[in-house]
């Protein structure tokens, strides 16, 4: 029990990260259902929140990867974890402001790696674990998801080609809701575990838990709540980019995309890969654009996202390292507090900036005009 004040601060920061993880990623599960009108936006985020909560209790395999597979836990101090989380949160909020569905997991992992390197040098990072468990899956998973979604899309249109358009839309909307629910569950299972892993890492660093321990029940419950709440708040900017920006989606494509995402995420979790649900969901949505004749993928939007993905790990690492530098420079508990005050201030600025071009449940489905924020439209048209 070396420093309980810092431990409490770290847990709070971790839960804050979990919250940003939730609202950044609501779109992965619900963007297509919202875009096709299968679910009203508010209902969609509520269902997704509940299922994220349930999903968080489902598995602990990924939490173990984060806690032990990426950095040598002996070198990790509480200050390192706090700084890493700060890196993750800042990157998540910046990409949310720009409406880019970047990976929350990479933001978190990048932040922790950056602060670990600043604290203990490059040797404290388990590079092999990082590349084989994070980087390679990050490259492969969107491709696999796109393949599965393209096959699914082609099959769905082929099998139902004799149905009337109306009947097809009606039928697949139901299927879409089901598959989106499974994705929400998968997201809770996969992403809530990452925060559990970090809190477990902090508890181990503080000596509260033994090395190699599993996440305690209170950690699982708090993480489940934080991610569910974040999901319910809804990251409308990201939802809009995913649902309207990439591909104009019809309900069969929505179902194909969500099924592909669910299958790939759940299978990978089973193997302990902490892959990014965002990368998978994006890959799937692009795949549905490829699998349907005449559908158009907006590659410029996809390219912007891919660029952000490449930068996520290093950028979050730089913020994490900087945050560690500040905390180390000031020193001790005060250093961590200074870090968190700076973090809170930056979050405030980003939130304030986002108010200027507001995206919410009213205008999330407005016609895509090239940017995240829709052009100003009268309220009644936007709601329709």
């Amino acid at each position: 029990m070396s420093n309980d004040t810092v431990l409490v601060l770290v847990v709070i920061t971790a839960l804050a990260f979990d919250f940003t993880n939730g609202f950044h990623d609501t779109g992965n599960a619900m963007a297509t259902s919202i875009a096709t009108g299968a679910l009203p936006p508010r209902v969609a985020v509520a269902i997704s929140g509940v299922l994220n909560f349930v999903g968080a209790f489902l598995s602990l395999a990924v939490a173990a990867t984060i806690a032990s597979g990426l950095v040598s836990t002996g070198k990790v101090t509480l200050t390192v974890v706090a700084a890493g989380l700060a890196g993750g949160i800042i990157w998540n909020l910046l990409t949310w402001l720009l409406g880019i569905p970047s990976s929350s997991s990479h933001a978190l992992i990048g932040g922790v790696i950056g602060s670990t390197m600043a604290a203990a040098g490059g040797s404290a990072v388990l590079w092999h674990g990082l590349v084989s468990k994070v980087v390679i899956p990050a490259v492969l998973s969107p491709v696999i998801a796109a393949l599965v979604a393209a096959c699914g899309t082609w099959l769905l249109y082929r099998i139902t080609r004799s149905l009337t358009d109306g009947a097809r839309k009606h039928g697949f909307r139901i299927g879409q809701i089901g598959s989106a629910c499974v994705v929400s569950l998968a997201h809770g299972t996969n992403d809530a575990q990452k925060t559990m892993g970090v809190i477990t890492l902090a508890l181990i660093a503080n000596g509260t838990l033994d090395k190699g321990s599993n996440a305690p029940v209170w950690v699982i419950t708090c993480c489940a709540l934080a991610i569910a709440l974040g999901t319910y708040i809804g990251g409308w900017r990201v939802i809009r980019t995913l649902g309207k920006g990439l591909v104009e989606i019809e309900s069969p494509q929505g179902m194909a995309a969500e099924s592909a995402s669910a299958a790939v995420i759940l299978l990978s979790s089973t193997f302990g890969y902490s892959l990014s649900t965002t990368h998978v969901a994006t890959g799937s949505i692009i795949g549905t654009g490829l699998g349907k004749k005449g559908a158009q993928v907006r590659w410029n939007v996809a390219g912007r996202m891919a660029t952000a993905w490449v930068f996520t790990l290093p950028s979050a690492a730089i913020v994490g390292a900087t945050a560690y530098g500040i905390a180390y420079g000031v020193g001790g508990t005060v250093g961590v507090i200074v870090d968190l005050v700076v973090l809170a201030a930056l979050c405030g600025v980003i939130y304030w900036r986002s108010r200027a071009t507001k995206v919410d449940h009213n205008n999330v489905n407005a016609e895509w005009s090239g940017g995240v924020a829709p052009e100003q439209v009268p309220a009644e048209t936007a709601a329709a």
Binding site: L60, S132, V148, S179, M255
Partner: protein, 96 residues
């Protein structure tokens, strides 16, 4: 020390295709059988006149039974997956 776990990779691709594309295809098959029957001809006729029907049930009993079987298989598959993930994700209940 291998960089890529090829066993995991092919399993993810193959099972991904079976579950991620196969199950929705089964759902589509279910929708198709559900639409068989007299109502469908009427809906198609309405469609030809410019109207659009979103009626799903065609009226054929065999079609409805087949559709029900397809939908039940999908639900069972999802339930089984969730159960598998639960058991795999909590490997050692003995450990404190």
């Amino acid at each position: 020390m291998s960089w890529i776990n090829l066993t995991a990779l092919w399993k993810i691709v193959v099972f991904g295709l079976v579950a991620g594309a196969g199950l929705p295809a089964l759902f589509a098959g279910g929708l198709y059988s559900l639409s068989l029957g007299p109502n469908r001809a009427r809906a198609a006729a309405a469609g030809a006149e410019g109207g659009d029907s979103d009626v799903l049930v065609g009226g054929s009993v065999v079609g409805m039974v087949l559709a029900a079987i397809a939908f039940l298989i999908i639900l069972a598959a999802i339930g089984w997956c969730v159960y598998e993930i639960y058991t795999l994700g909590h490997p050692s209940p003995a450990k404190k």
